[in-house]
């Protein structure tokens, strides 16, 4: 009665086997948002993970997927069920930081691993770090710092900054300002879920800024960019993959063209693993993967690499195997810091029209071997 994805059947054609193929499959619970406004990202997370399992073949992982409906209560309940009834040893999948903040402490308290394919709230990277909690994506501030660094170094001296009024939004503007060397022409906190940005765009117009930095994930970003394109305000926009990633670009259309944004990966990231990933994803799902799909794909491969090296029942050994990060990431170099968050290169990308599709093209390196500022507050070594 569960939504199971038993890979043995589907991977029959690609049986490569893994090192521990004779052991029982490890149950991995993937809790993500598959309904409501965030369903697009959740679908990418699920599809990225499943693609990795299909391509690896074998049945090392028994995957259970469920929808959290973007409700913290629901996510906690599902996590409990996966641990207590399904006996999952590893949980993953959560997109939103507020759900992660509710679920992760509860999961690690039950001696179960959590590997995040997306949400990277700062408390869990700093004082709240935990040996059982890994983040395979980023710490939330990373992309904002990269954009801030780039803006300051590339002629933007008077930036107007904008984000929604919730912890991720305040973190975004704090992160941007941390590495930005110019002046802030104006700083606005919008309402979470706001759809009409006319008031804010009017203020941008009046501010005399030479650039605009926005953090507006999901539908908020789509609304803003469309309205911005209609407003006649011509100031260049700089942002992050949260706002102008592949999940949002098709809906934004031309309105997003030329926006420079930061991300540790783009569909054109130049390595063999990524080329294979993007080709396979397009073939399997009929669309170009987003950064979320790439993170989830990496999460799956990270977990598979650990399963091949250690027994999940031996928490210490498995933890060491995860920390070793002995897998090929589609973003290039990948290593964990002391707080088990990634140390990785961050790039700037630009939104372009390529082969009739609107997508991101890598411009260049923004920060090399970025490590988040909260690692110092984590007492793990």
């Amino acid at each position: 009665m569960r939504l199971r994805t038993t890979l043995a059947a589907s991977a029959a054609a690609l049986t490569l086997g893994t090192g521990a193929a004779w052991a029982d499959p490890v149950t991995v619970g993937l809790i993500t948002t598959l309904s409501g406004g965030g369903a697009g990202i959740g679908t990418d997370i699920r599809d990225g993970f499943q693609l990795a399992l299909t391509m690896a073949g074998g049945d090392a992982i028994h995957l259970v997927v469920e929808d959290d409906g973007q409700r913290p209560e629901q996510a906690v309940q599902i996590a409990d069920r996966m641990i207590q009834s399904e006996r999952a040893d590893i949980l993953t999948g959560i997109i939103f930081s507020n759900l992660a903040m509710a679920v992760v402490p509860s999961v690690v308290a039950q001696d179960v691993f959590y590997v995040s394919p997306n949400a990277g709230p700062s408390p869990l990277a700093g004082a709240g770090c935990n040996p059982l909690y890994f983040n395979a994506a980023w710490q939330n501030d990373m992309l904002h710092e990269a954009s801030g660094a780039y803006a300051g170094a590339n002629g933007m001296v008077n930036t107007f900054i904008l984000a929604p009024n919730y912890p991720a939004g305040t973190d975004a503007l704090t992160g941007f300002k941390r590495r930005y060397t110019g002046t802030v022409a104006g700083e606005i906190y919008t309402q979470l879920g706001q759809t009409d940005y006319a008031a804010e765009i009017a203020q941008i117009r009046a501010s005399g800024a030479d650039s605009v930095f926005i953090f507006l994930p999901g539908g908020m970003g789509i609304s803003f960019m469309r309205q911005y394109a209609q407003s006649g305000v011509d100031i260049p926009v700089i942002s992050t993959a949260f706002t102008v990633g592949q999940d949002n670009l098709p809906a934004m259309g031309d309105a997003a063209l030329n926006v420079i944004n930061s991300g540790q990966w783009a569909p054109d990231t130049d390595n063999d693993a990524n080329r294979a990933f993007v080709t396979a994803f397009r073939a399997a799902y009929g669309r170009t993967p987003s950064i979320y799909a790439s993170q989830s794909y990496d999460t799956a491969n990270l977990i598979l690499s650990a399963i091949a090296a250690a027994d999940v029942e031996d928490r210490d050994a498995f933890r060491a195997a995860l920390r070793a990060a002995d897998f090929t990431s589609v973003r290039g170099d990948f290593a964990f810091g002391n707080n088990q968050h990634p140390i990785q290169d961050v790039y700037m990308r630009q939104v372009v029209m390529a082969d009739g599709e609107i997508t991101n093209r890598t411009l260049g390196l923004a920060i090399e071997d970025y490590q988040d500022v909260f690692a110092a507050q984590c007492t793990m070594e």
């Binding site: 309904s35 406004g37 369903a39 309402q191 009017a202 203020q203 789509i222 609304s223």
Partner: protein, 307 residues
């Protein structure tokens, strides 16, 4: 940055435009409540359907206007279908049952839309003649937003003519006042109710399609607007189109000006980022505060339809 006349003018226009789109949503809602006494939480889903079908229609034909027609027609058809199958059974039930049934409809329509159109937001763009800006002397302004103001006023005029000058309008107004009487006078109540519901749905769908071109066409886009529309009709008075217009303009202007001015007011005696956060928090609470105040002073809204 300083508050200039140009900025205030632009924000006032923004507030009016936001208010007029809210009016489209609220007019349908207040009609349905006024004539049939029905609380319809699924009104936001009809708004969403209008946007989705407009996007699909525009993508299929390459023409925004055809998409607009498709969106409005689809919403009206969905409205009629829902009325005949579900809503019709709820007229005699109390508000609680209506709330639950239409809440269930939200779940069904949201998930159904996702099953048909997929989980990602859809692309819908402003038609070329309405894109770009026009110089209004004090400030440049988006042509599309002006067009939205125009659409809103046109619909308002159309509704006024419909309600005030046609036989259908007379029946609607009579129905608001005394349902049993107009049945006794031989008006086909069932057809009238279906028609009113479909009209309300069409207005919601039209609003969704128009607004969808400059916002995100995604599942769940209707619920926030639904709540605002309820605020509007409560402020304006149930069953009153005039009330819906006044209420919508009040909500639109206050919300826009609040988001614009409150952080600045706080910044005069507080540090910039604290002021911004506190101002934003209060701005989001502001219309509810206004609604509560109106209800305390006028428990039935500004223009109650019944004497």
């Amino acid at each position: 940055m300083p508050v200039t006349l140009a900025l205030i003018f632009e924000q006032m226009l923004n507030g009016v435009q936001f208010g007029l789109m809210l009016f489209l949503m609220s007019a349908g809602l207040t009609l349905v409540f006024g004539v049939m006494g029905l609380i319809n939480l699924a009104h936001g889903s009809l708004y969403m359907l209008g946007a989705f079908f407009c996007a699909a229609g525009a993508a299929a034909t390459g023409n925004f206007w055809l998409g607009l027609v498709a969106g409005t027609a689809a919403a009206a058809a969905a409205g009629a279908l829902i009325e005949v199958s579900v809503i019709r059974r709820l007229y005699t039930r109390d508000h609680l049952d209506q709330v639950l049934a239409t809440f269930a409809l939200i779940l069904i329509l949201s998930e159904g839309t996702k099953m048909v159109f997929g989980p990602f937001p859809l692309y819908l763009n402003v038609p070329p003649i309405l894109s770009g800006t026009v110089d209004l002397g004090l400030t440049p302004y988006s042509v599309y937003r002006l067009a939205l103001i125009g659409f809103g006023l046109a619909v308002a005029l159309g509704l006024w003519l419909l309600i005030g000058k046609t036989r259908l309008g007379i029946r609607i107004r009579a129905g608001e006042n005394d349902r049993e009487m107009i049945a006794a006078l031989g008006v086909n109540i069932r057809a009238l109710y279906t028609l009113v519901f479909a009209l309300g749905a069409a207005l919601a769908g039209l609003a969704g399609a128009l607004v969808g071109a400059v916002q995100s066409v995604q599942v769940g886009m209707g619920e926030p607007v639904l709540i605002l529309a309820f605020v509007v009709i409560v402020i304006g008075g149930i069953g009153s189109i005039k009330g819906a217009m006044v209420g919508a303009l009040i909500v639109g202007v206050i919300d826009t000006m609040g988001r614009f001015l409150l952080p600045r007011i706080f910044a005069t005696f507080m540090e910039a980022s604290d002021a911004s956060g506190l101002g934003a928090a209060l701005a989001s609470m502001l219309i509810y505060v206004v609604m509560a105040l109106v209800l305390i002073l006028r428990p039935k809204g500004l223009f109650p339809a019944h004497a």
